[in-house]
């Protein structure tokens, strides 16, 4: 969500502190994903203070059969930065989906999205990531 581990850690501890305070006062919300929702808003707030990327229309390519081998060449931190550069709520959708910890219903609940919106953001995300991969690690016949 942030593409910066120190900021992510700060948000993590702030969220935990908030949870601990609420628990001490017996005011923990009953909704299951409160903690994740809270962390998401803190991430968005934290990233608002940063320099904002220019709103560009990114290229989109169809997912290629050889995409897996292109992805394997990626540095994980580069991918984190790429995802954190996406506008929200697409950023939230991609982060939650590729975290592979939530099913689609939980993502819809957490990110407050409709199924059609989540689907659109994922399709766009895959297409944009494929375009970025094609530019970064061109395979024969793709560049």
């Amino acid at each position: 969500m942030l593409g910066d581990s120190s900021k992510a850690q700060e948000v993590f501890y702030t969220t935990l502190r908030e949870a601990a305070n609420r628990a001490a006062q017996g005011e923990l919300p009953k909704e299951r994903f409160w903690l994740f929702r809270d962390a998401r808003w803190r991430c968005l707030e934290a990233s608002e203070a940063d320099l904002q990327p220019e709103a560009l229309k990114l290229d989109e390519h169809d997912v290629a059969p050889h995409a897996a081998s292109q992805i394997e060449q990626l540095d994980p931190s580069q991918l984190a930065v790429w995802v954190s550069g996406a506008p929200d709520p697409q950023r939230t959708a991609l982060a939650l989906f590729y975290l592979d910890e939530f099913d689609y219903n939980e993502i819809l609940d957490l990110a407050e999205l409709k199924l059609s919106e989540l689907s659109r953001y994922l399709i766009q995300g895959r297409g944009q990531l494929q375009a970025w991969l094609d530019a970064k690690h061109p395979q024969q016949g793709t560049a």
């Binding site: 059969p65 992805i71 689907s119």
Partner: protein
């Protein structure tokens, strides 16, 4: 690329298909995945997603943060405990209702167990005893046992006999009155411990007219008063006093000793 012949919602579901096959999904997702499982487009998407998820897992997490998640699921459902369940408002309300219903049922059962033919009348007479003042009775100072003749001669009441247990007690007054069901009741006030004695017709079977008798002494209670009731020859006798059963026990135990 070949478009899948799927409904719009199913297409949308397919784009959100779980990356891990072991992740549980709902029925509509399972149906969409089953329908598209071998399509080239879906296989490419799954391979792409799996590869991205693999890289995401490798994104470095600071060790201080990582230790929070060691061998723990991110989204753990709340644990079921007896304490939590007991605090659930619905469970609490049902429990209270069950306790109240059980309490009332037990109370009614115990009341029924203590019931005997004439117990309802006896309770009403305990209320009469509580509201009676000595001036309301005709003054008479004699032994209670001798009043049987008075009741028979003056009021025509047969078998209105004071039992031997109380026959020797001194009286300070007596009266005969009718209750709301026009039954004739004899009331005697004793000098001792402000005891009051009542004689009233025993209950009868409404069809056969047979007296509904019961053996020995039975206790009834009403608003701080206690009565010991027995039935003889179709007439019930009740000794009433403000207090509890212990206040009447000496008289009744004396009687059994005689």
């Amino acid at each position: 690329m070949r478009r899948l012949p799927l409904l719009r919602r199913q297409r949308a579901l397919l784009t959100c298909a779980p990356i891990s096959h072991d992740r549980s999904t709902d029925r509509s997702m399972r149906a969409a995945v089953a329908r598209a499982d071998n399509s080239e487009e879906f296989v490419s998407q799954q391979n792409f997603d799996r590869a991205v998820a693999e890289i995401v897992r490798l994104i470095p997490i600071p060790p201080e943060t990582a230790e929070w998640f060691s061998e723990k699921s991110l989204a753990v459902g709340s644990k079921w405990t007896w304490r939590k369940m007991a605090r659930n408002p619905a469970v609490l309300a049902i429990s209270i209702a069950v306790v109240v219903i059980t309490g009332v049922s037990v109370f009614q059962l115990l009341s029924r167990l203590n019931d005997f033919p004439g117990s309802a009348t006896a309770r009403k007479l305990l209320a009469v005893a509580a509201s009676t003042r000595p001036v309301m009775l005709d003054p008479i100072s004699t032994e209670a046992g001798t009043l049987s003749d008075l009741f028979f001669m003056k009021h025509g009441l047969e078998h209105y006999d004071v039992p031997a247990e109380f026959a020797d007690s001194r009286t300070i007054g007596c009266r005969v009155f009718e209750d709301e069901e026009s039954r004739r009741i004899a009331q005697i006030w004793l000098a001792e411990k402000r005891l009051q004695l009542f004689l009233f017709p025993a209950e009868r079977n409404p069809k056969t007219g047979v007296v509904l008798g019961f053996p020995g002494w039975r206790y009834v209670h009403q608003e701080g008063w206690v009565g010991a009731v027995t039935e003889r020859s179709g007439v019930c006798f009740m000794a009433a006093v403000r207090g509890n059963e212990k206040d009447l026990e000496p008289y009744l135990s004396n009687a059994t000793g005689k």
